[in-house]
Symmetry: C2
Subunit: 374 residues, 2 copies
Amino acid sequence: MQERHRPTIIDVARAADVGPSTVSRHVRGSKSVSPKVAERIERAIAALGYQPNAVARSLRIGRTQTLGLLFPHVNNVFYGHAMRTIQDEARLSGFTVMLLTHQEDARQQQEQLASLKRAQVDGVILLPAAGTNAAQVRILMGNTPVVAFDRTLDKAIDSVVLDNYRAGWEATEHLLSHGHSHIVAVNPAYKLQPLQSLQDRVHGYTEAMKSAGKSPRTILWQDADQLREDLRTALHRPGPASAILSLSYSVTLAILSALQEIPFDLHNVGLIGIDDMEFSSFIHPPLTTLAQPAEELARRAVQQLLRRTANTSDEPKGGFMEKAVHVKLPGTLILRASCGCRMAAASGQPQPIPSSQVGRSGAHREPPRNSPRR
Amino acid sequence: MQERHRPTIIDVARAADVGPSTVSRHVRGSKSVSPKVAERIERAIAALGYQPNAVARSLRIGRTQTLGLLFPHVNNVFYGHAMRTIQDEARLSGFTVMLLTHQEDARQQQEQLASLKRAQVDGVILLPAAGTNAAQVRILMGNTPVVAFDRTLDKAIDSVVLDNYRAGWEATEHLLSHGHSHIVAVNPAYKLQPLQSLQDRVHGYTEAMKSAGKSPRTILWQDADQLREDLRTALHRPGPASAILSLSYSVTLAILSALQEIPFDLHNVGLIGIDDMEFSSFIHPPLTTLAQPAEELARRAVQQLLRRTANTSDEPKGGFMEKAVHVKLPGTLILRASCGCRMAAASGQPQPIPSSQVGRSGAHREPPRNSPRR
DNA sequence: CTGTTAGCGCGTTCAC
DNA sequence: GTGAACGCGCTAACAG
C-alpha cells in the first residue's frame, strides 16, 4: 500500500494546520515563522516525507538554480578535476550542475546547448569544440549567460583559460635551460579553424625559440602513421631534435604511441607535455608536464557565471551588461624526469613549481608582459 | 533593444492567429492540424524564435524526460566511456542526462540523490559508493526507478554489472596458463562494508587458485607505505610471488606507484589488472587488463531504466512492478605484455579477446557455471 | 507573524 | 479541426 501521490506543500500545510505560504517560507529558511509553528511544520514534513518540487519552484521563480556544463568529454584529468570543482563551487551557492558532452563535434554541441536552453539552465560553462561559431552560440543561448572555459570563444563572451602563450613560452624555456637547442613542437592539425589556445601555445614556443636564437620547428599531427614518420626523421636526421614539446593532452598520447612504435627510447630525448596526465609519473621516464590550474580556473568560471546570472534577473535597462571579462591564469610546471631533471626523478617526488616563478628564476628569461594580439 | 520576455506558446498563438492549444498540438507533432494552420504556426515560431519551456511542460505532464546519473567521479576510462554511451542511448529515446558525482562518499551520495529527486528526474543510474545503505536509497527515491551500475546494491534493485566472479577467475586462469604458480591478489581494504563486486573478484581468484592446486594469497591495500612493504616482502621472500592480480583500477595505480618506489622492475613479474586504463599500453611493459564491456553495460542499464519508467507512469494497480532484474556481463581480456604474452607485445598491437572465449581455449578450465551465492 | 489569492507556461479535457 | 478553461506545485504580492 504505497502513497499514490507525492505530498505537496498543501498536504504539509493541512497536516500542520497552517497556510501553504507559511510552509513555503519555512522551508526556504525565513526567520519570520514562530518557533512553535515551525516545529509543527517540521513534524508534518518528516511524517509525510515531503520534498519540495524543484520543477514547480523553477516555473514560478523563473530560475532553475542549475548550471549547464558542456565539455568535449571527460576522459582527461583536467576535465574531470575541473568538473568536480565546478560542481562543488556551484553547490556552495545553491546551484546544481548538469553535465553534457559534445565529443568535439560542433553539431552535437549545438544540440546539447539547445537542450540546456530548453531545460532553462541559469547559465552554462562551455568548453567549446573546435570550429565553434561564436555568433551561433550567442543567438541560440539568447540572454542565458555563457562563459567559455579552457578555450576562448569570442571577445564578447566571458572566458577563463590558461595563459597559453605563457605556457608555451615557459615549457620551451625550461627545455632550453637543460641545454636543448633543437626543440620540435607537435601540434594537432585541425581541419577547420584551429583552436586559438593551441595557436597561442605555438606562438609562445616560437617566440621563446627565437629569442634564444634557435629556429622553431613544428610538426603537425594528422594521423598516427604520418606522425611516427615525421618524428622518426626529426629524431634521426643529422642535427637531430633533442627535445619535443607536446602542445596538448591528446598530442602527448599520440607522441607516446609513436615513440613506442618507432621504437625510440624516451630516455634519449627531452619531452614536456602541456596539460598533465593522470599517469604522467608511470611513464618511463616520468613525464614532465605543464599542468593547468584546474581548481582555480573552475572557481573563476563559476564565479563569473554567477555574477552574470545575478545581473540577468535584473532589468537590463540602464547599465545593461558589463563588458566581457577574460581571465587568464598561469600554469604550473611539474618537474619529473622526462625534461632532463634527473635529480627530480631520483628524489622520488616530482617537484611542482608555479610557472609564474619559473620566469623569475635565473635560468629563465621573462616572457613578454602581454600575450600578443589580445 | 532586446525582447524582455521569452516568447511563450501564447505569443505564438497570437502571432499565428490560432488558439494556444493548437500550437501545443502542432509542436508535439499531432497530425490533427490543418496544413495551412501548421504553416502559419511554423512561421510564427521561426519569427519569434520560440522554444518550448521544458520546465512548464514537465510540471504539467509530471515527467522531465531526464535521467539522473550518479557516479563516484569521472577520472576513469570505464566511467567516461559508460557515461558517454548512456548519454547517447538516452538521447535516442528523447531523454537527456544529468551527471552528478559523489566522490565515493555515502553522505554526498545521499545529498545528490535528493537533489535528483527534487529535480524530478524520471530515473537514476547509480554507481553506488561503498557502504551505501540500499534501504535508505529506496526510501529516499520513493517510486523513482533506480538501477545500480557496475556495483550491485540489493537484490531488490535492478543492477547491471560485470560478471565479477568470472573476471577474477579468468584473469587468474590466464596468469596460471603462463606457468605462474605464486600469484598474489591485491584488494583495497575498505573501512566499512566491502564492495560485493570486489568480493566476487577475490572469490573468482581464490577458486581458480584452489582448483589449480595453488594456495591463494591476498594483500590488502590500506595506504601506500604498507602496500609497498607488503609487496616487497611478497616479491622478495623465499618462494616469491611471480605474478600479481590487481582487482581494481585504483589498486592498479597504487601497485604501479609502489613498484616504482621499491623499486622493482615490472618485467620480472606478471601483472594483470581488472578494469582497463587509458594508458595501459604506455606502461613498461604494456599492461594486460580485463576490460569491462562499457558500452554494453551502459546500454543495458538505460534500457532497463526506461522499461521501469514506462511502468511507473502506469497505475501501479494489477501487476505492479516486476521483480528486479540483474544483468551480469563477461569482460574482455586485453592481452598486452605484462602478463607474460611477450609475443603480443612484439606484434605491436594488443590482442583483445572476449573473455567468454578464454574459458574454452585448451589452456583454460571452465569456471563453475554460476557465481556462488546469488 | 500568517492566510488568501493569483499566476509562472504548458497540456489536456471538453465543448463547439 | 479548433478554442476555452482548468490546474500541475509553488512563490509573491497583499491583506489581516
